[in-house]
């Protein structure tokens, strides 16, 4: 029998019953050259496993976090968006039709809806700018992240506020939605300014 091919030697490392495996193993036992080749194969694999781990030269976590937050905003926009827009539309209608009637939902509800609509408009503007896909300088990234951090904090507070008892809830929601709109406005400004400075 001629010497074993590399394909056979590689296959012999695997447990299994490939056709001809028994014959190949028998040859391996009796052939010093194939045995040496087989040992070298094992040694090469051991050396591959021992290669030092390569490390990234750039920090990528801020970019990952930016993507995660953008996705959350989009999800909030989608989840709150349809319901919010529908509610806002009904409120707008109701305000038009029932401005002379007693307001069951109170003035805060209408203002909340207005803030939600404004928030959604700004989210859409951010989506169109798509900041995650663009190269950003360090200073802009820092400012944008600071704003993103604050939006994330407001979002958590909004979730908590939605669970509050009726009393005081609308006032808290209104304050938070307005804060969110202000922060989003600033975030859009940061990206628009950066894009115009960069000539994008």
């Amino acid at each position: 029998m001629s010497h074993l091919s590399m394909e056979t030697l590689v296959a012999l490392r695997e447990p299994g019953t490939e056709p001809g495996e028994a014959t190949a193993r028998e040859h391996l036992e009796g052939c010093p050259l194939c045995r040496a080749e087989f040992d070298r194969l094992h040694q090469r694999v051991a050396r591959l496993k021992a290669l030092p781990a390569l490390r990234p030269s750039r920090e990528r976590w801020p970019a990952v976090l930016g993507q995660v937050r953008a996705e959350r905003r989009r999800r909030r926009f989608r989840a709150g968006g349809l319901a919010g827009l529908a509610a806002a539309a009904s409120v707008a209608l109701a305000l038009g039709v029932t401005s002379l009637q007693p307001k069951e939902s109170g003035p805060d509800r209408a203002r909340i809806q207005q803030a939600m609509v404004r928030s959604q408009v700004l989210e859409s503007a951010l989506d169109r700018i798509d900041p995650e896909s663009r190269v950003t300088d360090g200073q802009t990234l820092g400012i944008a992240q600071e704003l993103e951090d604050r939006i994330a904090r407001v979002d958590r507070e909004l979730e908590m506020a939605e669970l509050m008892e009726q009393q005081g809830r609308d006032a808290a929601l209104l304050r938070l939605w307005r804060e969110r709109v202000g922060l989003l406005d600033a975030l859009v400004d940061v990206h628009v300014t950066r894009a115009s400075n960069a000539g994008l």
Partner: protein, 178 residues
């Protein structure tokens, strides 16, 4: 490997599922190097590998709620990383055939006398062969699993592995003199 990389993996995963950004960052810090290393061994450039690192952890953050803890956390993250790296190879239209690879690298008459170190030899392999070597010999994937990830057959994976080892042996000057 999980407990080696992340001592309190269970609690970190539980918090990450709630969207806790500190926990998500802890996952990133724990697995950043092995993910990048895997990506860099498969991808052609450091930039591609860094993009795979980012794509992998974005996917981890998005999907951590669906992680069922049936296998190890590293196993789950590693499969995401390997898929992303292979996707990038496909997107970059990898050099799949040996013939094309020879055209790109250039045939060297003195191949048999080359004495490369292992890093250089590994880097010189065609992308697909290198990916198969790394996934099979280092990460421990089976040919069936590699075939599944690459959209190829197990025979394709086996033959790529054998060819890669034949090349490595030659480039490393390890040929046995009969």
């Amino acid at each position: 490997m999980d407990s080696y990389l992340l001592a309190d993996a269970e609690s970190v995963v539980a918090r990450a599922r709630q969207g806790d950004e500190t926990a998500l960052e802890a996952l990133y810090r724990a697995f950043e190097v092995p993910v990048y290393n895997l990506a860099r061994r498969i991808c052609r450039t450091t930039e591609d590998a860094e993009d795979v690192l980012q794509e992998t952890f974005f996917e981890v953050c998005r999907s951590i709620r669906s992680y069922r803890e049936e296998g190890s956390l590293w196993g789950w993250i590693r499969t995401i990383a390997a898929s992303k790296a292979l996707m990038r190879l496909r997107r970059n239209k990898y050099r799949e055939t040996d013939e094309l690879h020879e055209e790109v690298v250039g045939r060297r008459k003195d191949d048999t006398h080359l004495r490369m170190d292992l890093e250089a030899a590994l880097e010189r392999l065609p992308e697909v062969s290198r990916a198969v070597v790394w996934l099979h010999d280092v990460e421990g994937y089976t040919h069936d699993e590699i075939a599944g990830m690459m959209g190829k057959t197990p025979s394709f994976s086996k033959s790529q592995l054998a060819r890669a080892h034949a090349r490595l042996r030659r480039w490393l000057g390890e040929e046995v003199i009969a």
